[in-house]
Symmetry: D2
Subunit: 369 residues, 4 copies
C-alpha cells in the first residue's frame, strides 16, 4: 500500500506541497536503455503550466524539471538513457508568494479538503492547499512524459475538453488539429470561442465552471489488461478519479450505457481491409472484459468547478464556529482546462504499466492472435 504511489510495475511515487521548497516524483521499474533527457519532459509541463492565458491561474511557475537519478550518459554512446534505476525528477517551487494564510489556516473552505485533512491527520499544511493542491499534478505530468517514452511513438495519447459548464462541444466539428489552437484544449473552435465568453463571465462573477475532459489512446494492441480486479477500465477509472476535483469517469458509452439496448451496445466485428479484425462501433471504449480490443481507448472524466471562488460561502472554522469564506488570489476559473494534460499523463502511466504487466504474464507485447 502506498498512498502516494501509482502503478504496479511502472510505478511512481510523488511528494511535495504547494508551498514547500520543491515537489517531485520517483519513477521505479522503468525499462533500461530508453533515451531520456529533460527536454523530453518539458513540453508536457509547459502544457500544464499555469499563467499561459487569462483563463488559468496567474501564478507564474517556471516548472523546470531536473533529472536527479536513473539516467546515464555513457561517453561511448554520447546520449543519456535510462539505466533501470529509479528516476528522480524534481521541480523547485519558485513563485511562492509569502503571504498571510491565517484565514485558510483556521477556516475550512467549502468544497476543499481542508476539513477532511484536519479530520484525518489533525494537522495540515494549509499554505496554498499543501498536498491537496493541484500543484502535485506537475509531478504526474512529468512522470507521464517518461511513460510515453516507454510506450513508444506508436501509441498516441491525446485529450481534449469536450464540455465546459453546461456547454458541450459539437462532436461533428471535432478536429484534433484545433486543440492546441485555443486556450481550452477544445477540439471544436466554434465552441472554444463561446467558452471564452462563458469563462470571462464566470470569472468576473467570482465563480468558476466545471468541465469534462475526454482522452483517446490510439495504437494500444489487443490484449492489454486483465480480467476481474486488474481490468484495464478499472485501472483507468481509478487513475482518472484520482485527478484533483474529478467526480465521474466514463469508458466508451459511459453512463449512457445504462440507457442502451443490447443490440446497440455490443460492438460488432468485421474483417478489415488488411485482414485484421475491426469493430463497426466503439461503445465499449476499446475495452471488453477488462482487456483492450485494439480499438481506441476512450475515457472521459468530469472535473468539478474549483471551490476557490470569490463568492462568499458559509462554513465553519476549526473552533467549530459558523463563519463565511471567500477565496481571493490567483485561481483557475476552470481547473478542467489544466486537467487535460493531467488526464493524458494518467493514461500514459496506466498504459506503460499495462505494457510491462502484459509482457510479464504472456512474454509478448502484442496479441496472441
Amino acid at each position: 500500500m502506498s498512498y502516494n504511489s501509482f502503478g504496479h510495475l511502472f510505478r511512481i511515487t510523488t511528494w511535495g506541497e504547494s508551498h514547500g521548497p520543491a515537489l517531485g516524483v520517483v519513477i521505479d521499474g522503468c525499462p533500461p536503455g530508453i533515451a531520456l533527457s529533460e527536454a523530453d519532459i518539458r513540453p508536457f509541463l509547459d502544457k500544464r503550466r499555469p499563467g499561459t492565458s487569462r483563463h488559468v491561474t496567474q501564478r507564474r511557475e517556471e516548472d523546470r524539471v531536473r533529472i536527479l537519478s536513473g539516467t546515464f550518459q555513457d561517453d561511448r554512446t554520447g546520449f543519456p538513457v535510462t539505466t533501470g534505476a529509479p528516476i528522480s525528477l524534481m521541480i523547485e517551487n519558485t513563485d511562492q508568494r509569502s503571504k498571510d494564510y491565517s484565514d485558510i489556516r483556521d477556516t475550512w473552505r467549502p468544497g476543499h479538503a481542508d476539513f477532511t485533512y484536519d479530520a484525518k491527520y489533525g494537522v495540515r499544511d494549509y499554505r496554498g492547499g499543501g498536498r491537496s493542491s493541484a500543484r502535485e499534478t506537475a509531478a504526474r505530468v512529468a512522470a507521464g512524459a517518461v511513460a510515453r517514452k516507454v510506450l513508444g511513438e506508436d501509441i498516441v495519447i491525446r485529450a481534449a475538453l469536450v464540455q465546459m459548464g453546461p456547454r458541450a462541444i459539437d462532436r461533428s466539428r471535432w478536429d484534433w488539429g484545433s486543440v492546441e489552437g485555443n486556450d481550452f484544449f477544445c477540439p471544436d473552435a466554434q465552441t472554444a470561442a463561446l467558452w471564452a465568453e462563458d469563462l470571462d463571465l464566470a470569472r468576473k462573477a467570482g465563480s468558476s465552471l466545471g468541465a469534462i475532459v475526454e482522452c483517446h489512446v490510439a495504437g494500444v494492441p489487443a490484449g492489454w489488461g486483465a480480467p476481474v480486479y486488474a481490468k484495464l477500465d478499472s485501472e483507468l477509472a481509478g487513475a482518472m478519479m484520482g485527478i484533483n476535483a474529478a467526480k465521474g469517469v466514463e469508458i466508451g458509452a459511459g453512463m449512457e450505457a445504462g440507457a442502451m439496448r443490447g443490440e446497440d451496445a455490443a460492438d460488432e466485428m468485421r474483417l478489415g481491409q488488411d485482414g485484421r479484425p475491426v469493430f463497426t462501433s466503439n461503445h465499449n471504449g476499446g475495452v471488453l472484459g477488462g482487456i483492450s480490443t485494439g480499438q481506441d481507448l476512450v475515457v472521459r472524466v468530469a472535473i468539478k468547478p474549483t471551490s476557490s471562488i470569490r463568492i462568499e460561502r458559509s462554513t465553519l472554522n476549526r473552533d467549530l464556529q459558523e463563519t463565511t469564506v471567500s477565496t481571493k488570489g490567483r485561481h483557475d476559473p476552470c481547473v478542467g482546462i489544466r486537467a487535460v494534460p493531467v488526464a493524458e499523463a494518467m493514461a500514459a502511466l496506466v498504459l506503460a504499466d499495462q505494457k510491462l504487466l502484459h509482457r510479464a504474464q504472456t512474454g509478448r507485447e502484442g496479441p496472441a492472435l
Copy 2:
C-alpha cells in the same frame, strides 16, 4: 500485483470459472475475534442469486457457501469467530448443464470478452464465459458479507437500481423500504411497475437493457481515505468499474459536476444540532480531497445491457471469417439488477480496507477532530 485480488489490508483473492467444479474467495487480513458463520453470508448470496424472478437468468444455483478456514469455534466460547488466518470460502457449481459449446468456442460474441481473452491468453475456457462470467461476483458478494462484519452495524451500505434502459426513477418517491419489495431493487415502486413492462418487452424482443445502480453508505466517519493516489473516491471508482459490464462511475454529482458552477458544487458547512459539523448539500458524495467527510457516500455505476441477446449480430470466428451469432440460453435481460448486491459488496470491501488503513496510519478509527 494480483490480477484476481482486491484490497490492500482487507484483501480478497477470487478464483473459479462459470462451469468449473467450484468458485471461491480467500480473504486475507481479516481482524480476529469477529463472530462469523455461513449464516452471515447466505442472505447476501440469496439476494444475488439467479432464478428468483422472471427478470433474471433462470439458471438455478443454490450458491451454498462453505467456510473452509479462518474461523474457529472454541469449546470455551461456543461460537465461531475469525482467527486472523485467511478465510477460504467455496461455492460449488451445481447447475452446469452439459451442452455443446462449440458455437461460443469458435465465434467471438460481440460485446463479450471472447475476442479479448483469445487476444491476451491465446486460450479461453469458453464454457459459460469461464472466468469472465458474472458468476465470479458470487465470490465478491460472499466476501462483502465478511467485510460488513468488519465494519460493524453502524455503517449501513445499501444500493438500489435508479435507471433501467432510458427510464429513470422519480427521486422524489425514493423509499428504501420498497427496494426489497420488487424484482428490481427499485426504490420507487411506481417506476418498478413500468420497468417490469419494459423488461418483458425487451426480453420478448430478444434484447436486453442497461441500468444504473446507486449505492449509499451511511455511518462512515470523517477521515477515511487518503490523498493523491489512495483517494477513497479513486478506490471506489476502480472497484465499481471492476464490476462486470460497468462503463461509468460517478461520485456525488458525478458527470453533472462538469456542468456546474463553483458556488453550486461546493457543499457548505454549518453546525448541526449536536454541535458537530454538518453539510447543507452533498454534491461531493461524501468525499473531499480523497477523504470521507462523514456524510453519506454516494456512488453510481452504469451497467451496460448484456451482450447475450437472441437478436442476430455480425461477428468473426477464430479463423477470422465473418459470421453472425445469436445467443440462446438462460441470460439476464438486465444484468444491472443483479449488480445491486455486487455494488454493495464492492463498497463494503473498499470500506473494510479503508478502516484498517486509517487505523494503521493514525491509530484511530474516527476523526482527529
Copy 3:
C-alpha cells in the same frame, strides 16, 4: 500487503488449518498455455508427505490435490493447459484424528507459536497447531510444482540435507544421485547411515534434532533479480526464513563470509570453453548486487529441532500459571527432512516470479550480453 500471499507477479495465497476440512492455494498471474494437470503436482507432494519412513511423522495423509480452476482442456487440443486465470488447488485433510486438545488449548508449548498467536489474535485454532502447523507447507509444495512448469526444464532446482544435529555431511562425497536413495534427502550415503542412528536415538529419548537444508538451482540466466530492495538474495532469504522453524539463511559462503578476506571472497571471471563468461569459484552463491550471475544459486537454511518433544518442559498456561508440558503424538523427530521439498518449492516460487519480473522490465528472458 498480504499476510498469506507470496510473490509479486507469480503470486500464491495459501489458506487452511492443520485440522480444518481442507487446505489450499490460489496461484495468480500464471502465464497461459502451460500444460498442467494434477499429475504434475503429485510427485512433489509425495516427496513431502508424512508417513513414508520411521523418521518422519506417522500421520497418514494422502495429500490428493485437486485443480479447481485455471486450467482448461479444449476439445480441439485434448490436453489441459493454464488459461491465465487463477489456479485454485485444494487438498482435503483426511487423517484428522478426533482427540482431546484441551492440553494444547490451555498451555503454551515452549518453542511453538501458541503464546504468540494468543498474544497477537487473542484466539487460536489450537488443533494440531492450526495455521502454524507445517501442514501449510503442502500448499507451498503444490504451488512450487506449478512454478517449476513456468520455469521450464532448463532450470533445475534440487535440495538436500547437509547437516542433522551436530553431524554434517562430507562434501567430498556429495552425490545428487543418492539423495532419493535414503530417508533424509542426504547427498552423502555414509552420513545418511549415521543419521539414521542419530535420529533413532533422539526419537527414543523423546527429543528431536535440527538440520540444515541446502538448495541448488542450475540454469538461471545471468540478469534475474534487481538491486537494492528487490535483490534476488533478499527475496530468497525472506522466502527461506518463512519456512516453519527456519532460523538462519545463507547465500553462497553465508555466515562464513564474515571471516573471509577480499581476495578469497570475490569470485574471479574467466572465459569458458564456449566463449561465455565463467567464474572460478562461487562464494557469492550465484548472486552479485542482487542479480543472478548465471552460476548455480546456492542457498542454505537452518531448521531448528521440532519443539514437539516428549521431554517435559516448563511453561505457562493461559491463566498465567506455571506448569509443564510434554508433547505426545505423531511428530517429526527432525522437521528439517521434510523441509527439503519445501525449500525447493520456495526457490521455485521465487524464481518463477523473478522470471516474470525480469521480462517485464527488460522485455527479455535472458541477459543483455
Copy 4:
C-alpha cells in the same frame, strides 16, 4: 512490486547514484503529528558517515540531509511535525572527485555488481558503482531515523560488530557502553584493539575483511508480525539480506539451530516478578511462529569483505577478453563497520512497518493478553 521501495505501510523509496547530483528517499505512510526535524536524522547519518577514522573510506561526505516535504511548522504550535504526507529527504553528493572511470567502465570487477548490471540492463552507471554503491545506504539510514520516531523511545534498537575476519568478540565481555568508544562499534574493547591491528594489516596488504553485525531490539511488545509469509523473521531476513554485501542472516540461534536438540532450542516460559510471562532463554531471537514474543529481537548479518581491493584479480572486460583488475582509491577495508548503523536502520524500518500492520489488523498496539 517496487524494486527500490521497502515496507508495506511505512514505506520508503530510495533513489540516486553514488556520483549523481544527489540521493534521497521518499517515506510514505508515516503517521501524522510526530515531531520531526533534520536534527533528528543527523546523528544517524553521522554514525554512518565515511571519513571518520582510518578504518573506513576517506571519502569526505558531509551528508547534510534536507526535509523537502511532509512536515509542517504551524505557527500556532511552533514546532515541525509530520503531516501524513510523503516525507522527501535529499542528500546532495558533494565529494564526487572527477576522475577517469574508463577502467571500471569496461572491466567487470570480481565480486562487484558490474557484470550482473550489464547482464540485466545492458547499461550501467559505472561511476563509483552507481546505484550498487553503498552510498545508497545513507538514504536507508535517514529513513531509519524517521522510523525510530514512529516507534517511540520505548523501543531501543542497537547493533554492534561481533566478528571481523576470523576474530569474534568474547561475549562475556559484551558492554553496550563501549560500542561508541571504538572505531568498530565493538561491544568488547579488548577485541576492538586487536581488530585495529588486524585491519591495519589487511589494509596495508591491499586486502579487506568480512564481518558480522548483530542487532538487538528491546521493547517490542509480544504480538507483532504474522504467520506464514509475513513472518517478522522473514521480513527481517529479507531486510538484512538486502544490505550491500550481506551473505547470511540469523535470528536467535541462527545456523546453530541446525545442530541443536529440541529440549535445548525451545525457550521455556516462567512467570516474571511483575506477573508477566518471561522466557528463560532466547534461542528463537524474540520470534515464534513469525510473531514477536516480547523478548529482545536478535538478528545477525554477515557482510562479506569488500571486493574493492588493491590485490590484482583475474576478470573479463566487456569485450569478453580476459584481463586483470586492481581497485585503487578510497575504499572501506571492512564495509561491515559501516553496516552497523545500516542494520539498525533496516530493523527500525521493519518494525515501524510492523507496528502499523499490527494495529491495522488488531486495532491494538500491544498484545491481546
